[in-house]
Point group: C2
Chain length 227, copies 2
DNA sequence: CGCGGCGTTGATCTCTGTCAATACTTGTGG
DNA sequence: CCACAAGTATTGACAGAGATCAACGCCGCG
C-alpha cells in the first residue's frame, strides 16, 4: 500500500513532522507501515508496551481510559494530521490510554526506534518532538481548565467555536463525530449535550442533526467571557 | 548563593535531570541561578515568554490559569525535586500558566538555551527531557480521568493515598499545604473538601487540622475500587 | 487589639446525572 | 425486501452531588 500525494501533504503538515527536514522525513516514513483500521477496531490497549507513534492520514481515533468496572473516559479525539502516542513511544514505556478507531482510519505508523536513531544522528529532530509534546501538553492543560472551571454550556460553546475555526461572523459546519462521543469528550452525558445544545439556541446556535450554524461567532464568544 | 550537598542530591534525583550524565549536569547547573521566592511571589505569569525551566529545591509552587474575571484554576502543585515549565522552555514559546510560590521557595533556574545547546552536542540528553515531559503528560491524563470520572470523595481518597505513599497498613502524615489549595487542586470548593473529609471518617480516615491518619490504606483503596 | 485569612457547619439552590419512554436510522439476516 | 435488533438522539421526571451564601470560631500578625 503506497502513500498518495495527498497523504504526503498531510504528513508534511502534521504536528509531529512538519519541522522535520525532508531527508529525515523520507527515512522516517519510508518503510514504516501505512495501515488501516475498521471502525471500532483497537489500535492498542492501555498498558501495552509502546513501540510506535502514529500520524492519522484519514478518519478519527479516540483515546480512552477504562476503569475497573469497564467505565470509559475519553481523554482525546484525533483526526487527520494529528499525531498521538509520541510520549509513550519516546521513553519506550507503556501506553497510558487505549486507542480505538471511531471511523474507518488510515494511519502512518512511525517506529519509536527509528525516531530514536534519527535524534541521535540529527539532534535537531529532537526539537520537533519536544515541540509536538509541548503542544499536546498545552491541550491537556486547556482541557483541565475547561472541566474544572467551566460548566457544560461554556464547554460546549468553547468546543463549537473551536470547530468553527472562526472568531467572528457566521459559521456553518458539520459535527465531526457522533454526539455520544462529543458528550464524552466534553465530560457530560449525551442527554446533557442535547439539552445544552438547545440552550445555546438563545445565543444564535442552530442545530439540525449533525449540522451546526453559529449565527455570530463573536457574539457566542462574548457570551463565553460574559458568563 | 551556593548549592548545598542536599541540594545536589535533590537535583540529581529530580525527574528532569536524573538521567543526565554527570558532566552535562555540571554544565547545566553551574552558572544557572539558584533563586529564592517568598510566599505569594509570582515566578512567571501566563503568556510570559518562556526562557527557562525550574527545579524545586525546597517549598511548594502552584501553577494556575486565571480567566478574564480573575477566577483562578489550579492546574498542578509541585514540590521538592519536581521540575516544571520544561514544555514551554523547549520550544521557546509562552508559558500557558502562571507560577506562584505557595510557601517560601528555593529553586534552580535552568536556562532553556543551555538545554538546547546540550541537546545539540549530546543528543542523549534529549531523551531525559522527552522522558520528563512524558511523565508530566501521564500525570495530566491521570488528572483528566480523575475529574471526569471520579466524584469528590474518590478524588480525595485517591489524593490522600498518593500522599501516604503506601498501599497498605496505617499511615500518618501532614497535609503538605493549605486546604484551600488542596480543594482547588482537586477541583472542588473548600466547603466540599471539609465535608468530604468528614465522610471519609467512615473509611478509617482521621483528620485533626492538617494531621491525617489513615487507619488502613488497603481498606481505603478497596473502598475506591468498590465504589 | 482588631483585622484578614483559614476552616467548619448549616441552609438552600441548581446543575447535571440517572432512569425511562419514544422515535429515527442503520445494518443484518431470514 | 421486509423484519428485527442495535445504536443514536431527544425529551421528561426525578434525585443527588456539590456549589453558593451566610454565619461563626480560630489563629497569626501588624
Amino acid at each position: 500500500m503506497d502513500l498518495s500525494k495527498e497523504d504526503w501533504s498531510v504528513i508534511s503538515r502534521s504536528s509531529l513532522l512538519e519541522a522535520v527536514p525532508p531527508d529525515v522525513l523520507d527515512r522516517l516514513v519510508n518503510g514504516n507501515a501505512h495501515m488501516a483500521l475498521a471502525k471500532g477496531e483497537m489500535l492498542f490497549e492501555e498498558g501495552d508496551p509502546a513501540m510506535a507513534c502514529y500520524v492519522i492520514l484519514a478518519g478519527w481515533i479516540k483515546l480512552v481510559r477504562t476503569d475497573s468496572e469497564g467505565h470509559e473516559t475519553v481523554v482525546e479525539v484525533f483526526s487527520k494530521g494529528d499525531c498521538f502516542a509520541e510520549a509513550a513511544a519516546y521513553v519506550s514505556g507503556k501506553y497510558p490510554v487505549s486507542a480505538e478507531a471511531v471511523t474507518g482510519v488510515r494511519l502512518l505508523r512511525v517506529d519509536s526506534q527509528r525516531i530514536h536513531d534519527e535524534i541521535l544522528s540529527k539532534p535537531q529532530v529532537a526539537f520537533s518532538m519536544l515541540a509536538s509534546m509541548s503542544r499536546r501538553l498545552h491541550r491537556l492543560v486547556d482541557q483541565i481548565e475547561q472541566i474544572k472551571a467551566r460548566n457544560a454550556t461554556e464547554r460546549l460553546a468553547s468546543f463549537l467555536l473551536g470547530l468553527s475555526g472562526q472568531n467572528e461572523g457566521r459559521a456553518v459546519f458539520e459535527l465531526p463525530f457522533s454526539k455520544v462521543l462529543i458528550a464524552a469528550r466534553l465530560g457530560m452525558t449525551p442527554e446533557s449535550l442535547s439539552r445544552t445544545l438547545n440552550q445555546l439556541r438563545d445565543q444564535g446556535v442552530n442545530v439540525d442533526g449533525g449540522h451546526i450554524e453559529i449565527k455570530d461567532c463573536a457574539r457566542l464568544r462574548a457570551f463565553l467571557s460574559a458568563n
